[in-house]
């Protein structure tokens, strides 16, 4: 049976209204016959048929509007004409506009210091924070000259081996201190925290890590914290309520963006987010750390990176306290803390031994979840860390 389709008469024609059938069921048609009239935005156009046969059935009533490519009628080919091969017409789907949900462009809150690109590059190369330099260029912009001036000044100071006490750096750490104080006190005021702790055996994880690092160049060597981040991300897949925000009601988040607490050299912290940690491999997470930690310390983070975390991890690294109970970052509903890895006595099915162990803690917002959820999370986290190869 041959399908007679609504033809496309122009690249911009998307549909047509069948006004009148010129042939009825049972009529015979041959190549070039007018079979119907169709209304288009250009006016009424006669539609011709290119096949021979008897009209089996008219599928569309007069007056209906159909998209190009719709089957209008069925034609029974009486005898197969020379044209044996029937190419399949390409289905025409009209182009929908690609709608991108509005990306709310958050106002850049960074204080913008005017400096020429060259000056910025030189300052960065010499680890000089821009707010330490007085600009002499167009309306106060920092130029190459100004940077060179500071470098020269610092070399002089270096020689005298005195520690520079410029009040500007103090001011900045005060500013950071004030910001942290505000966030923490808001968190304690509004969020009823519950706290949980879990001791986790890291023997398998650390041996896997050592073997993994032996196969890697030193440049891409992995740190233990990478496994913690990956394990948290994997565990959160089963605990959506912990990967959420509280906005007079619990609102789970689709992406798993783990805020990573970075300690600044002269005090204070920054918490950039590792986006979609669940989708990243351990190597990609390590690369993300290599990017965000130095940028955090040089205060080069974009405000967007600081504001879309869905949960936070604070890790003591080695040589720190055994356990750390975090303060939740509003509007998040949980914070996970990893103490320092240390050799500890560890009992397992009755046997006592010395193992590399870490204390993992979870502080949860009791408005959003209960202790049971938190402890189940920590148990699964511990189990996931026993199978490092599958992280």
């Amino acid at each position: 049976m041959i399908e007679f389709l609504m033809p496309s008469l122009g690249a911009d024609m998307e549909d047509g209204t069948l006004i009148e059938w010129k042939k009825r069921t049972g009529d015979s048609v041959k190549r070039g016959d007018i079979i119907a009239e169709v209304e288009t935005q250009k006016g009424l156009i006669e539609i011709e048929v290119f096949d021979e046969g008897i009209i089996e059935k008219l599928l569309i009533e007069e007056g209906t509007k159909v998209p190009v490519g719709t089957v209008l009628a069925l034609i029974d080919p009486i005898e197969v004409s020379l044209e044996t091969k029937k190419e399949k017409p390409i289905e025409l789907h009209p182009i929908q506009e690609k709608t991108t949900e509005g990306i709310t462009q958050e106002a850049e809150r960074e204080i913008h210091i005017k400096a020429s690109p060259l000056a910025k590059k030189m300052a960065e190369d010499h680890h000089i924070a821009l707010f330490q330099i007085k600009g002499s260029g167009f309306d106060g912009a920092i130029t190459k000259e100004d940077v060179e001036h500071v470098i020269a000044q610092r070399d002089v100071i270096d020689k005298e081996k005195t520690v520079i006490e410029t009040e500007k750096t103090v001011a900045s750490s005060e500013a950071i201190r004030a910001a942290i104080a505000a966030a923490m006190s808001k968190s304690n005021r509004e969020i009823p925290h519950y706290y949980l702790e879990k001791k986790i055996d890291l023997t398998k994880a650390l041996t896997w890590l050592q073997e993994a690092n032996e196969q890697r160049k030193v440049q891409s060597r992995l740190l233990p914290v990478v496994l913690f981040i990956k394990a948290i991300a994997k565990t959160l897949l089963d605990f959506p309520d912990l990967n959420a925000i509280w906005d007079n009601g619990l609102k789970p988040k689709k992406d798993i963006n783990i805020g990573f607490v970075v300690a600044l050299h002269n005090g204070g912290i920054m918490v950039p987010a590792i986006h979609q940690a669940d989708l990243k491999t351990v190597d990609e997470i390590m690369q993300t750390l290599n990017d965000i930690i130095p940028r955090a310390r040089a205060m080069k983070l974009r405000s967007s990176e600081l504001s879309d975390g869905t949960i936070t991890l604070t890790s003591m690294g080695d040589g720190g306290a055994d356990a750390v109970f975090g303060v939740i970052y509003p509007p998040q509903v949980a914070i996970i803390g990893f103490g320092s890895i240390s050799e500890q006595p560890f009992a397992e099915n009755g046997m006592l031994g010395v193992r590399s162990v870490v204390n993992a803690t979870l502080a949860g917002d009791h408005r959003a979840t209960d202790g049971l959820t938190g402890s189940q999370f920590l148990n699964l986290l511990a189990r996931n860390l026993q199978k490092p190869e599958s992280l």
Partner: protein, 81 residues
Amino acid sequence: MNEDEIKKNIFQLLKKIAPDTEPSVLKPDENIRETLGIDSFDALQFIIALNEKLGIEIPEKDYGKTNTLSDLLSYIMNKIK
């Protein structure tokens, strides 16, 4: 590459990853990381820098032998020979 040159390189690299500290004041047997407040992330950057600058590789199992300035120096000296 004699000892002084290696020491100069070490101070330079330490200065790079901990700009607000004074590596040159380190005593030979002081623990480098504790004195300069270097965390595990910075330590890894230091080891990477050593590899790129001096071409030597410190595997994880040797971390223990490089805690102080003198340990680090002797470790590097016999690695370079």
